[in-house]
């Protein structure tokens, strides 16, 4: 047992790049901006946390699935409130997916002494940009 414990398992990690955002904070842009905003920030943050590509793809897929669900609501529901509401709900679901993947790596980064970056600017930009993009796509594709 000792032999196994006392054999090397550590690999030098690449020098730290940009500090990650707090995954919990992504709730705001995801709530106001919708699934694409949540997924975009989730993927960017995943890169900052140096997550494997597979996990980044899962986040991106969750964002696209959320947007597809919104499109479906746009096709079948009358009025705008359903589409708006589905944006909020899908955004929150994408955020939960981001959290499930990033909470632990983020905690470890903080344990290593990393100071989380400020999400206010990028968060507002993602919420507004992706929110408008989703609205435009829904208008063009299904309305």
């Amino acid at each position: 047992m000792h032999d196994e414990l006392f054999s090397p398992t550590i690999r030098d990690r690449p020098p730290p790049g940009r500090p990650p955002w707090r995954p919990e904070s992504i709730v705001y842009p995801a709530f106001f901006g919708g699934p694409l905003a949540g997924a975009l920030l989730g993927v960017l943050n995943g890169r900052r946390l140096a997550l494997p590509t597979g996990q980044l793809l899962v986040i991106a897929a969750a964002g696209l699935a959320g947007f597809a669900a919104r499109l479906a609501v746009g096709v079948f529901a009358d009025g705008n409130s359903g589409v708006r509401l589905s944006g909020t709900i899908c955004g929150l679901l994408v955020w939960l997916a981001v959290l499930a993947i990033q909470r632990r790596p983020f905690r470890l980064a903080v344990l290593r002494g990393v100071d989380p970056a400020n999400l206010i600017g990028p968060g507002i930009a993602a919420a507004v940009g992706c929110g408008l993009l989703e609205a435009a796509l829904i208008l063009v594709l299904v309305r």
């Binding site: 414990l5 006392f6 398992t9 709730v27 509401l85 470890l108 344990l111 290593r112």
Partner: protein
């Protein structure tokens, strides 16, 4: 000629009371021969680490090892210095060299556990600290490492439980109080957290991190921060999900006006949670200075 033994004793006493600069001054009175003795080098490394001068810790440990050959304690300091410098593969090699000399050394086991923890290898870290705990279940470093592992697992309740035990066994240890403060803060218990860091800062006034954390918690205890307690206590995730579920519930129950009002109140609350904390922090800091 200085009496080496009493110099080392004085340096150790200064270090124990957190006066690392003075300990270094004391050690500098040793002659060139005595300076590189393993024990003098260990004290020097300990003092430099307190001052966060990790590059010099590495140099001192290397000089000590070059002068007097492999020594588990100096290897421990070199390993920690390499880890601080971000050369983790080298740190692991050095710590494993130390463990080859002293497989049951509690400090080496915990330092290696710490390194594994930083790389997300929680199971290995837990096994290493178990070995250390079998040797010295009540050693401060064992408590501290167990708390870090529980924290990394996200088990804040367990982390706080171990911190309480740590404070119970070592009520005089500032790090124990600081860890109890930190683990209480992670559970949103602001008052307990403040108390922990206050006691830590009182016991070791020279440690800036303790005073800064106590300061941050004074901000969190400010009356204007009271409305934000639910977020601290239950975490952002639960409060958000509860708020959104309530809004949706009201909508589906056919009360769109109430749902709209609640939605607006929630938005205002979110804006409050962004705007007020920095303002309170600035205000409290100004009062402090």
């Amino acid at each position: 000629m200085t009496d080496t033994f009493s110099v080392l004793q004085r340096a150790q006493a200064l270090l124990a009371t957190g006066r690392a600069e003075q300990a270094l001054t004391e050690l500098s009175t040793l002659t060139a021969n005595e300076v590189t003795s393993p024990y003098a080098m260990q004290l020097r490394c300990a003092a430099l680490s307190r001052l966060d001068r990790w590059a010099e810790v590495g140099d001192a440990a290397r000089a000590g090892l070059a002068a007097s050959g492999p020594d588990p304690d100096l290897l421990l300091w070199l390993g920690r210095a390499e880890h601080e410098a971000g050369r983790d593969e080298a740190a692991e090699r050095v710590l494993l060299d130390g463990l080859a000399l002293a497989p049951h050394d509690v400090d080496l086991l915990c330092a290696y556990a710490d390194l594994c923890l930083a790389h997300g290898q929680l199971d290995k870290a837990a096994k290493l600290v178990e070995l250390a705990a079998a040797r010295a279940p009540q050693a401060p470093v064992v408590y501290a490492t167990r708390i870090q592992i529980a924290h990394a697992r996200g088990d804040h309740r367990e982390a706080q439980r171990i911190s309480r035990e740590f404070v119970g066994v070592h009520p005089e240890n500032p790090a124990a109080h600081a860890l109890l403060g930190g683990t209480s803060a992670a559970r949103g218990q602001v008052d307990a957290a403040y108390e922990g860091f206050r006691q830590a800062a009182a016991a070791r006034p020279t440690e800036r991190a303790f005073a800064e954390s106590a300061m941050e918690l004074r901000v969190a205890r400010h009356p204007l921060m009271l409305p934000l307690r639910p977020i601290l206590r239950f975490g952002a995730i639960k409060t958000w999900l509860v708020a959104v579920a309530l809004i949706l519930l009201l909508r589906t129950a056919g009360l769109p006006v109430l749902a709209g009002l609640l939605g607006f109140a929630w938005l205002a609350y979110c804006v409050y949670s962004w705007v007020v904390p920095p303002l309170v922090r600035r205000w409290v800091l100004r009062m402090w200075r």
